[in-house]
Every structure is written in C-alpha cells, then in structure tokens.
Amino acid sequence: MNQTGGRVLEGKHFMLGNHAVVEGALAAGCDFFAGYPITPANEISERMASRMPEVGGRFVQGEDELFSIFALSGASLAGAKAMTATASAGFNYMQEGLGYAVAAEIPLVVVDVQRCRGENYATQADVMQMRWGASGDHEMIVLAPSSVQELFDLTVRAFNLAERYRTPVIIMSETTIALMRENLTIPGADDIEVVHRVTPSVPREEFLPFAAPVDGTPPFAVLGTGYRVLHSLNPHDERGSISWDPDVFKTMYERILGKITRNRDDIVETEAVLLEDAEIVVVAYGSTSRPALEAVYRAREKGIRAGLLRLITVWPVPDREIAAAAENARVVLSVEMNVGKYSGEVERCVAGRCPVKRVTKNRGEIHTSEEVLAAIEGVTR
C-alpha cells in the first residue's frame, strides 16, 4: 500500500477499480469512512483503513451495515464528508439509513458493488433496490460508472452532488469493474471541482433550518455550531419542529423530492455514441455498456446504423434523453445484466415511439459483444 500521505494522487496509474473509488473519495474531501466486511467491496475498506489516517480522516469498521450507514449520518451531521462501501447483501441493511438521510437531508455517499449467486459474480440486479429500497417517499441519485476512470470521476461527482443537494448519492459499482485493473489518470487537485455544503449565514434567531425555495436546498447547520437543530425522520416544519399536520408533511416532501426532480438537468448525465442517424438504439449502463459499445461499432462495420445511449446517471431516469434517442429509431435494445429490471423504465420513456427489445443476461456473467451484436442483427433482419 502506498503511503504518500497526499489527498490527491495526481498522475497516471494502473489501478484496481475499488481503489479508484477510494482515491476519488479522498480527492473530493472524504474524511470519514465506516464499513463492514463484504466481498467484493473489501478492497475499498482495506485502502480506506490505510489512507484515512494519512489525510487526517477517520476510519471505523463497525459491527454491521446498519452501523455503517448511521455512523455516516452522524459524522456528516457533525460536518464530515462521509462514505461507506458494501455489496448487494449488505446494501439491503442500509435502506433504513438511506431513508433517514433523505428525510433529514444528510449528504453521504454509498458504494454498492453489486454481486450475485451469493458470491462476487457479475450483476446489475440492484438497480431497482437503489432507487426504491428505502421506505417512504424519496428521490435517489444513482451514478453508474463503467470503467476504473469513471469509478474515480463519478465518486468525486457523487460527493459534489451529495453536498450540493444535501442528500445521499449511490455509486452503482459492479464486480466487473470493481475488481478490474485499468489505466487511471488523476488530475491535479486544482483541476478537480470540489463542492462543499452551504452553511447558514444568519444568526440562530433568524435561521430556519429546513426553509428553502421549492427547487433549492436549505443551508446546513453543522452540529455544535450553536444552531440547535432537531434532525428527525418525523415530518417537520421549516423550523425543524415535528408536526403531524398533513400540510406540513406534504410541503416537506414536495421540497425534498423537488430539489432533485427540479434540478434533474444538473444531475442527469448520459453519453451518446453514433446516435444521430441510429435506427437501432442500444441503451445500457455500467459495465454492460462496454460490450454494448463494441457491438455498436461492429454493427456499423457491417453497415447497420446502430448507436449507443449510455446512462451515466441511472436515477433520476434520463427520461428525455431516452425519449429523444427513440424518436427516430426503428427499435430500442435495452441491455442489462439481470432479469430485466431497468428495461421497464426504458419502455416507459420510449412510450411507444418504437418497439423496445430486452437484451438481458442473468447468469453472473457480463454480456459478450457478440451477444449484443447478435441482438442488433436479430432486429435488423
């Protein structure tokens, strides 16, 4: 393990995906990590345990995943930039804490390195749990890296979004990319945008801890700074007082959900490859976008007008981007490594503009480009 002591390891690396997440977090200012052992996320904890003390942060290995997610909330309320990493079975336990973090508007970052077959086999099966796992009303920001470079880049972005919108952000990692080594370029610290939460600018008497414009995020009063705020899961008004008034409940959730939905243009990110004239549009996210991309290129070599819409933000759904890509398409192929979950969202967004064909694989193995190409050719005939 390198012991450089620096927060930003500027330069070129050949790095493990799980380690790139750690370096992205540190570059974004992460200074608190809590985790519980689980494969295939262990390399994140391992490197955090070594790197956190070097940058003056805190590392803790807790008694379970519930500890992890709530320790994150506590640390973040005390002013930390906090992260945990787990894998599907451990991610189950964190839903309660994610729900609390949404309702109490606490920035934090969770990495779910998805696995299946009870071990570290490849899958994208948690894509719905990431969005809908917590009880109650919530929006969830979920980013889907597809390479080691993106595991770094999107971890930085995850922290920035969490800080900007006071909300949990999930990094949808996968066995495939987490346990892969690839080239990684880490920019200099000055070239990495780092966002910090806004803190109150008025004295306590004038401060309303949960007041904000309907499309905005309230300033964040760090614990112990004299603002004496109640952070409750229960419905609360602008002062933070618990209230069972149905109007208070409705207003609170409209604002908490609205700060995500109304800012979707800032949050949603996609990549379009050869879509301009595409008759066959492949929609993919995460690691499956890699064989999907290769299949699109190979289809083009065969004279098939195929294109790829890669979803970098998976939630909120890039609905307008999917609809636009389908506008002039003959068919949309939804490629994902599970029984076909997000495909329902793709079908909803395509909304009958053209047929949607599901190209799913649920064997603990990533698609090959041949399989995606065969699907493209299958709808060409």
């Binding site: 200074d31 608190f32 809590a34 345990a49 956190m52 003390p53 070097e54 805190r58 590392f59 803790v60 290995q61 807790g62 008694e63 379970d64 519930l66 500890f67 992890s68 997610i69 709530f70 320790a71 994150l72 909330s73 506590g74 640390a75 973040s76 309320l77 005390a78 002013g79 930390a80 906090a82 309660e96 804490g97 609390y100 309702a103 109490a104 614990l223 112990g224 700074t225 004299g226 603002y227 004496r228 705020v229 109640l230 952070h231 409750s232 899961l233 229960n234 002062r239 007082s241 618990i242």
Partner: protein, 273 residues
C-alpha cells in the same frame, strides 16, 4: 422542574410534551436537566440523541442539536459524531426496547470500544409507545400485551450487560431515587468514556395496567421501590433471584481506559500524542 430550568434548557416551541400523566420518562428528563445544570453543560455543544419510543422523545424537548426518529441506531449515530468531532457532548436517551432489543448489538460494541458518550436508559420494562408489548427487560411471569399468560423469558440486566461489554461508568437507579439518580447523571456527564445510567421507571398506561393491574403511577413507583434493593445490601447478583428483589440499585462501575478514536492504529497514536 422550575420555570427557570424549563426556560433555560427546553425548546419552548416543543412543549407541551407528549408523555402520559405520571410517565417515568418525563421524570428522567427533569433529572437530566438538573444534572446538566449542576455540571454546567454547554447546550451549544450538546448533541442529544433519541431513537424511537417514548424515551427517545426526550431530545425533542431539549434546546440542543438533536437526532431523532430511527429505532435502535442511536449509538451508530453517536459513533460517527464523536469520531468526527470529539469535542461534542453526546447524550443518548434510550428506552429499554431501543437499547436492549433492536439496538442491543450497537450497545455492546459501543461499550466494548469505550466510546466517549453518555447513555441514559429509561427502563420501563415494556414497549410503552406501541401499546405495552413484552421487552427483553420485562421480569419473568409478568403479563404484557404480547404475554397474556405471563412472560416466559428471563430479562436482561442492562447494567451487567454494559459492564461485561466494557462500559467504564455504570449506574442503576429508579424514578423513585431522584437524588442518587441526578448524582449518577452528573458523574456520567463528567466521565471520560462509555457511561450508562439506567432508571427503572414506571409506565402507568401500559406496563402498569397489564403487569401490575393498576394504571396509577404511584402504584408503579411503589412497586419498583418494593422490588429494589441497594447494592450494598444485596451482596451480589444471587439476591436478585429472590421474588422481591428484581432491581439492584447502585453505582457499579467507574474506571478509566482509553476512549475510542477510530479503528485505525495510526489514527489513535496521532490523536493521543
């Protein structure tokens, strides 16, 4: 509680509180405010934490930063807070369901680590808020909502559990022993390390009516007092097996050992240097 204490330490817009008439949790809120006042606790540095339940509501009434509303995870929150900012004074208010049932795992590990926080347990011997179900602290044979033929399980002794797990300050008193209880709270607030003060408390509405066949809070307090024995007289844990002595009262542990500062060794070395 005097008007001055209410004005100084309670969040005015949160009152009136929601406790039933005669509730023991409200008494413990009173005892805490007095102890905090006696030791000069700075409420700007206080983080009061409650999970879910009647006792968990206490932080809502304190004029301090507060976390509230998740069942059993109080010590996980507290660990994150204390590791990031050890200067904050973190006090957890937990019912017996919150700390001994759903949060039991966090309790033993926080005690083992000697996390530098204070846990105040209001042990009303049942799940009061949800209607009076049996708890891990309900004495054997007593009737509750979910043990209509009597409780068949032996109860946890929370103080023994905390001591065994590694807590460095442990006391048990009751709502009937205000003076000793306030003194124990003062000691816990001043203590460096994991402190737990348990108050055996009456729950007239649910425990009282079912287990004691009386919803009168005075009957509840009297029953607790009648089943309590001071530590000095008890001579040890064996006495508790007798029918009458369900609760041994006293200050059990007060010792020092290094407080938890994170799992990383380099981290600990740097911070204690």
């Amino acid at each position: 509680m005097s008007v001055d204490l209410v004005r100084s330490y309670l969040r005015d817009r949160s009152l009136p509180h929601f406790f039933c008439p005669g509730c023991g949790a409200a008494q413990v809120l009173n005892y805490f405010v007095r102890a905090a006042d006696n030791v000069g606790l700075d409420f700007d540095r206080l983080v009061a934490i409650g999970g879910v339940g009647c006792t968990a509501r206490i932080p809502v009434y304190l004029d301090a930063d507060a976390l509230h509303g998740i069942h059993g995870r109080t010590l996980a929150w507290a660990t994150g807070i204390k590791l990031h900012n050890p200067e904050l004074e973190v006090v957890i208010f937990a019912g017996d369901g919150d700390i001994a049932a759903i949060g039991g795992n966090h309790l033993i590990h926080a005690a083992r680590r000697n996390l530098n926080v204070t846990v105040i347990v209001v042990n009303n011997l049942n799940f009061g808020m949800t209607g009076g179900q049996v708890a891990p602290t309900t004495p054997a044979h007593l009737k509750t909502m979910t043990t209509p033929y009597g409780n068949v399980e032996p109860p946890f002794d929370l103080c023994e559990l905390a001591e065994t797990a590694g807590a460095t300050f442990v006391s048990r008193w009751t709502t009937a022993t205000a003076r000793q209880g306030i003194r124990a709270l003062e000691g816990a607030l001043k203590h460096e390390g994991f402190s737990l003060v348990e108050f055996v408390a009456q729950c007239p509405t649910n425990f009282g009516r079912r287990a004691l066949r009386s919803g009168d809070p005075v009957d509840g307090v009297r029953w607790i007092a009648d089943h309590s024995v001071a530590r000095s007289k008890s001579g040890g844990a064996e006495d508790k097996t007798s029918e009458d002595a369900l609760f041994v009262l006293g200050d059990f542990v007060n010792k020092r050992r290094p407080v938890f500062q994170g799992s990383s060794l380099l981290d600990t070395e740097r911070r204690s240097a």
